[in-house]
């Protein structure tokens, strides 16, 4: 899932302090699971903002709302939510970067008579897995050309700090990456896994250059399923 973290309170405050009708919209999908932008976090931010404004004797309305997902119009197309958006003069979206952008576009389309400003409440970080309660780790960078079959299910693009396809480098030590002793050397893991599978020969030939066009380096990507479009 997409993992993010709530922005520091001071940063959020600096984005909204000059407004008087603030709406916080949370997202019920990825950011709820990684405990960054779901209902509870929306409530918390709402309380923090109200406490801070009250302390400074500012008369500010802070409203709260939820959308199951902000990356799909149909989940935001609810009259209750849209009414709240109309009343606000600024919206804090607690969704990931995708949701913030998509919500901005959607709200501005659905409320044509005034421009709606949507600001991000989170710093979206990576695509990762929940390792244990409270710990998430990056696992995929979306390179568009998955090599996991060759590397025993361990991604060298994501988990190797140098994205080597012919690793490990000389900095691998005791199974750890040179950049951080808490980071496992991906290639060390790959070698071990392939050995266990009896597939170490797979990485003996030189792996050729990667075509980065399928990755983000080729610009913002798009997928169109013609069979879904009438």
């Amino acid at each position: 899932m997409i993992v993010g973290e709530r922005k520091p309170f001071s940063e959020i405050m600096s984005m909204v302090e000059d407004y008087s009708k603030i709406l916080i919209v949370g997202c019920g999908s990825c950011v709820t699971i990684c405990m960054a932008g779901g209902e509870e976090e929306v409530t918390i931010l709402g309380s923090q903002l109200r406490l801070a404004f009250q302390k400074n004797k500012k008369d500010v309305e802070v409203e709260e709302a939820m959308a199951l997902r902000q990356c799909d119009d149909e989940y935001m197309n609810e009259s209750a939510l849209i009414e709240k958006v109309k009343k606000a003069d600024i919206v804090i979206s607690m969704a990931c970067g995708v949701g913030v952008q998509h919500a901005t576009a959607f709200f501005n389309r659905i409320v044509p008579d005034k421009p709606i400003k949507v600001v991000p409440g989170l710093n979206t970080t990576f695509m990762g897995a929940n390792m244990e309660v409270g710990i998430w780790e990056e696992r995929c960078v979306g390179c568009g050309d998955c090599v996991l079959e060759k590397t025993g299910g361990i991604c060298p693009i994501t988990r190797c700090a140098k994205s080597l396809l012919n690793g490990p480098c000389g900095g691998s030590s005791n199974g750890k990456c040179e950049i951080n002793k808490d980071t496992e050397c991906a290639w060390h893991l790959i070698v071990e896994r392939l050995e266990a599978l009896g597939e170490l020969d797979r990485i003996k030939p030189v792996e050729m250059y990667k075509d980065w066009r399928s990755s983000h380096d080729g610009g913002p990507r798009k997928i169109i399923r013609e069979d879904m479009r009438i």
Binding site: I44, S47, L51, K57
Partner: protein, 136 residues
């Protein structure tokens, strides 16, 4: 001028804390007048929004009282509560409030004297901090 009497909300767990409150009552132990006790099955059930809402609604301080670590009826509810309190303290500090307005403490069951001491201590601490700065 009348002295400021802090309004304290005390989330008390059903097991040790409430038992302590009961015994304290029977023993006639005095503690500060403006305490509102809210019973929870276990302090683990207290969520951060509850703590923040308590302050938003005008409480001057909030204390969460549970069982001693290792004696929680639900095993780790009190550990979770303590962690949440820590986070809540930093959240209110971000918003410009003194983190000491939120406290976690425990009583041995049924530690009536400790119970009274906690509430009195919290009241004095909050008295020195002053009224909730967000209440106008």
């Amino acid at each position: 001028m009348t002295e400021f009497e802090p309004k304290i909300i005390a989330f008390c767990c059903h097991y040790c804390a409430l038992a302590a409150a009961d015994v304290a009552g029977k023993m006639g132990l005095q503690y500060a007048p403006n305490i509102r006790i809210i019973r929870v099955l276990c302090t683990g059930k207290v969520e951060i929004p509850h703590l923040l809402k308590a302050l938003e609604s005008g409480a001057d301080g909030v204390v969460v009282i549970g069982c001693k670590f290792g004696e929680c009826y639900f095993r780790e509810g009190n550990f979770r509560a303590a962690k949440k309190l820590e986070r809540a303290q930093s959240l209110i500090q971000e918003a410009g409030m003194e983190p000491e307005r939120l406290q976690f403490d425990f009583v041995p069951g049924p530690g009536a004297k400790k119970f009274a001491d906690i509430l009195n201590g919290m009241t004095e601490k909050v008295r020195s901090l002053g009224p909730n700065p967000t209440v106008n």
